[in-house]
């Protein structure tokens, strides 16, 4: 994904350059900024981005004078540098774990070219493997096999997108929702139980699985909203603790015969009925399932909710300033409960995607790390629906590519994850990249330096 990123920047850059730089509003927290911006443009100026292919360009609204636009003004080069920097540092990390590099390093002074070639090969091989595992594998023996990696990316992105939307929606209403993990688990428990314990006709069964999951997630999230609204307890504490409650409750359930396979006592549920699982969109050769279509639907729904509906306007108003919203006649308690319930329902869709889409069983690892990755996805997507969607795809691509990177190059999975985290870190934090290159006098070129300075003064909220 990141390879596609740089060419897209100039377009946004150009548009940005046509806008005169305006004085900026300093130091708003990121999500507040986003909310303020959106309230400003709530008249209908906002539209989904035409190019959601990368995390950053995904959330650029169509309207002219937004703060976000200004943030990205002149940041095209920064993005290029971000990817470049991540690739270099990641490449060196990969090289440091490569056995060939280690062996050639032992005679570095005798023949340095061997060492440098080894470093170069180790890094490029890994990135090629990442691409082949996430987007397109030219070595596949059929067209279907060649596109299999992309399908895998979409599959892994599915739960990330829906859980990310839940987190993003809560962010927009000013709530830091750490609870996606627990919401996925509760949804997974209910959906899986309906899936393996009940035996219903085709169609109805899956529908009920989906409803059970969404309701489960919505209840788990909504409960947090109720506690927050009624008692003022902080949602961060609540959601974290609710995650633990959900996980340990799941572990307890998996130790009861009702959630185990007949005749076995391993903590793993029976397999869901065939009528209870998502159909695979492009046949059994890919894992891609109906849940991805629903994730697209959810993205549209959240976009509509936030930008076109009264409820969404209230969410954003509460997120921007709860006191002002209350004064303006908005029921803040109701908004808090409702937004947490909807966020939980969205995370619940991830739980359903897990048990009815890919895993088809319930284990204590049903939520994997999706609930926490969702937070990064939402932040990377700047808490906008399509930004989250794009960030989910990016994360999905990384997770899918990691398998190939590990197998083809023997890079340890932990290093793969470190490299990917670096890439995300640099993409998500342009000011960091500016600082890195601003401090390096050897790289200074007049034009770029000027741009960097201008960008730096237009706000650091990104």
């Amino acid at each position: 994904m990141s390879e596609q990123h740089p060419p897209k920047r100039p377009a946004g850059d150009e548009q940005g350059d046509t806008q005169p730089a305006k004085p900026h509003q300093p130091n708003l927290a990121a999500e507040e900024t986003a909310a303020v911006v959106s309230v400003d443009t709530a008249g209908g100026a906002m539209g989904p981005s035409a190019v959601p292919a990368s995390a950053q360009s995904g959330q650029l609204p169509g309207g002219p004078d937004t703060l976000l636009r200004k943030i990205f003004t002149g940041s095209g080069m920064v993005s290029v540098l971000a990817v470049f920097l991540a690739l270099v540092i990641g490449g060196l990390l990969i090289a440091s774990t490569d056995t060939r590099v280690a062996s050639t390093a032992s005679y570095f002074f005798a023949r340095p070219t061997d060492f440098l070639t080894a470093v170069w090969n180790a890094a490029t091989r890994s990135y090629i493997a990442l691409f082949q595992g996430a987007v397109f594998n030219p070595r596949g023996n059929s067209v279907a096999a060649q596109f299999a990696p992309f399908m895998e990316t979409l599959t892994i992105a599915t739960p990330l997108i829906t859980a990310g939307l839940g987190v993003a929606l809560a962010f927009r209403a000013g709530l830091f929702n750490i609870g996606a993990q627990g919401q996925i688990i509760v949804a997974g428990i209910l959906a899986a139980w309906v899936g393996f314990a009940l035996h219903l006709p085709l169609g109805l069964h899956l529908l009920l699985v989906l409803v059970a999951g969404i309701v489960g997630g919505a209840l788990w999230g909504g409960l947090v909203g109720v506690l927050k609204a009624r008692t003022g307890a902080h949602e961060v504490i609540l959601t974290i603790m609710f995650n633990y409650i959900a996980l340990y409750f799941l572990r307890y359930l998996l130790n009861t015969p009702a959630f185990q396979r007949p005749g076995e006592s391993n903590p793993i549920s029976p397999i869901l009925d065939p009528s209870a699982v998502y159909p695979q969109i492009f046949g059994s050769q890919y894992r891609l399932h109906l849940g991805f279509i629903l994730a697209i639907g959810a993205t549209v729904l959240v976009w509509w909710l936030l930008n076109r509906s009264t409820v969404g306007f209230e969410f954003r108003a509460v997120g921007a300033n709860p006191k002002a919203a209350q004064t303006a006649g908005i029921n803040v308690s109701r908004s808090t409960i409702l937004v947490m319930a909807i966020a939980g329902g969205l995370a619940g869709m991830s739980g359903v995607a897990q048990v009815a889409g890919t895993e088809k069983v319930l284990t204590d690892g049903v939520a994997a790390t999706y609930g926490f990755d969702a937070i990064t996805v939402a932040l990377l997507g700047r808490s906008t629906p399509w930004g989250t969607f794009a960030a989910g795809l990016l994360f999905g691509a990384f997770r899918a590519g990691a398998v190939q990177m590990q197998i083809q190059t023997g890079t340890p999975i932990d290093i793969v994850l470190v490299v990917q985290s670096l890439i995300v870190l640099f993409i998500a934090a342009p000011p960091l990249v500016r600082a890195v290159f601003g401090l390096n006098p050897r790289r200074k070129k007049p034009a770029r330096a000027a741009k960097s300075t201008k960008a730096a003064t237009t706000g650091g909220a990104a």
């Binding site: 060196l92 090289a95 032992s106 892994i156 006592s265 793993i268 197998i407």
Partner: protein, 368 residues
């Protein structure tokens, strides 16, 4: 991208490289090898692969043992090896699929959690062979060989040993998570203690596991060593002097608690599981009475060798005392302290179990 290369070159010269600069300098003065001296791994085209569960290959438990077995096969048999670690349960299917695509002749999967994924891939790829550690299928699959262990047999000996060695008349055990591959140790241990009491008319007590109720003490995972330490302290307070933790790395928590007790003058001992703890957990050598070993590495190597020689079968490999798949480890430093009588009794027990005169049964025993 050429600038990338230039930059990397400059970067490494300037010491920006994350490769440890000092190590580089210390070792970088060696002579360059002659061109053309390539190091080929082996002559065989056979590829053996392994997919871990989320514990990873450094779990000091079955992932690690199985992986080491495969690496040993790489060295001994000259095969190619491909490995992939799963970080979460979601990785199982993609990882397995990728292994099959990468042309693996035999893919070893580790643990019951991979049971479904292995079954699915085996069905989709009838020409590929699979082996799964610590899990057996109700209905055998033609291209999957389960590698399972009747661990209760060796644990029985450990229980007898513990009961015959204890000074306080109380021994203990605890588990990581209540799953069959853990409780089978505890069942065997409990029966060993019981057998000792019957034979000797003694009343050695066992803490931490009730075989009849199938319930006992668990730490809840295979990670939190401090919980294992706390449990072990509780056992010590209740008078136990020998503890067998069945909890992978959490066993180190038990080791730490026992070592503290030892340092304060108490005569306490530890029984390790899975591997010979005297070698794999040398920090606790001083208190390591023995270990209940599951020879997973050997089993993996054997299965790979059979498959490579074209003798693959889906008959489960069941590790027993008879085939040395499970064993009681040597006493090492405690050798002189274990009475000769007890040693010969243990030998007799082993013989009786192998001959079938002594039946060791557990709910978790492999049904074969």
């Amino acid at each position: 991208m050429t600038s990338l290369r230039a930059r990397m070159k400059r970067g490494s010269m300037a010491g920006l490289a994350t490769v440890s600069a000092s190590a580089l300098l210390l070792t970088a003065c060696g002579a360059a090898p002659e061109p053309g001296s390539t190091s080929s791994a082996g002559a065989s085209d056979y590829t053996g692969c392994i997919v871990s569960d989320s514990g990873g290959f450094d779990d000091q438990s079955f992932n690690q043992s199985s992986y080491e077995g495969l690496k040993k096969a790489e060295k001994d048999l000259g095969i190619k090896v491909n490995q992939v670690e799963s970080k979460t349960n979601n990785d199982f299917e993609p990882n397995l699929r990728a292994m099959v695509t990468a042309g693996c002749d035999l893919t070893v999967t580790v643990g019951f959690l991979l049971g479904d994924a292995t079954k699915a891939q085996a069905a989709a790829n009838p020409d590929s062979h699979f082996a799964i550690i610590d899990f057996g299928y109700e209905t055998p699959i033609s291209n999957v060989k389960p590698i399972i262990y009747d661990t209760a047999q060796a644990a029985f000996m450990a229980g007898y040993l513990a009961a015959g060695t204890t000074k306080t008349g109380t021994v203990a055990t605890f588990g990581g998570i209540k799953i069959p591959t853990v409780t089978i140790f505890m069942d065997g241990y409990a029966d060993g203690v019981k057998y000792y009491n019957e034979q000797k008319g003694k009343d050695v007590k066992l803490l931490g596991w009730n075989k009849d109720a199938q319930d006992g003490s668990f730490t809840g995972d295979f990670e939190k060593q401090d919980v294992g330490k706390q449990l072990t302290r509780n056992f010590l307070d209740q008078g136990a002097d020998i503890v067998m933790p069945v909890a992978g790395p959490v066993g180190k928590g038990a080791g730490a608690a026992l070592q503290e007790a030892k340092n304060s003058g108490k005569d306490v001992k530890l029984i390790w599981v899975d591997s010979d703890g005297f070698l794999t957990a040398p920090d606790y050598k001083e208190i390591m009475l023995s270990s209940v070993m599951k020879q997973m590495g050997e089993a993996v190597e054997t299965v790979v060798k059979e498959d490579k020689d074209g003798k693959f079968s889906n008959t489960p490999y069941v590790g027993t005392l008879a085939n040395d798949g499970v064993q009681l480890a040597p006493f090492h430093d405690f050798d002189s302290q274990v009475p000769a009588d007890l040693k010969s009794e243990l030998d007799q027990i082993k013989k009786d179990i192998v001959d079938g005169k002594l039946k060791v049964e557990s709910d978790a025993s492999p049904k074969a």
